[in-house]
Symmetry: C2
Subunit: 142 residues, 2 copies
Amino acid sequence: MPTITRGVRDFLATGPLAHLVTLDSDGSPQITLVAAGLDGDDLVFASFTDQHKLDNIRRDPRVALSFQAKEYAGNGLHPYLVIEGRGRVSDGGALQVMDDLAPYYIGPGATFPMRNLPPGYVTRVTIERVYGVGPWREEQAG
Amino acid sequence: MPTITRGVRDFLATGPLAHLVTLDSDGSPQITLVAAGLDGDDLVFASFTDQHKLDNIRRDPRVALSFQAKEYAGNGLHPYLVIEGRGRVSDGGALQVMDDLAPYYIGPGATFPMRNLPPGYVTRVTIERVYGVGPWREEQAG
């Protein structure tokens, strides 16, 4: 498992959205935008309804999440971070994860603005590879 | 082939970067950030050096490109556009494509700032599916 560096943690704390890639049954990529963040050394995200992407992860746990920095670095390269890993979907706990992520996406002290919600699903991703362009770079994919 | 609507064209003309997904030999997704835009009804992007992602496309042409709007819409959903299709890589022509894209990424009348470059490679994507959240929405992936 790669080390999750301070640079990665600091970047994810700025609340960039994740372009989440899962694999359809024919192996082709599917993408949705989700809020995601670290919980210890895992990446987590929540869903309030069951979704096509969760079925994809249950069938093939390989996922990749790509996060784009909000600002250009000014050197012609736009910083981004890609995390690859394996996801596992569990029932319930969605609101807790959204509350945990709210300070990064909404602001300090924030909780998720909706409360009367179904238990939903939480996906926890075991990180296998970190790459991209930025201070968190371990490698560049090319 | 889906219709490329005015909404899609207008959004891509704002110069959002593409999270380009290709498939590694084991079928797992690989992601890099690229400049991409429409050329007629195809999506095109250029590379000045041969790269892992081009080898991926030569082996398995299935690609997905996800573009994130620069600004939140203010309704809790961040607009994004996903284009899925099949890519084919051809030799040469990279600078012309980068010049064609420069007005969207740099500004009106711009050309690509570097000139003394190898012929490179152009990937042309035949679009098969358009989805996401925004005025270009044909469907939401979920």
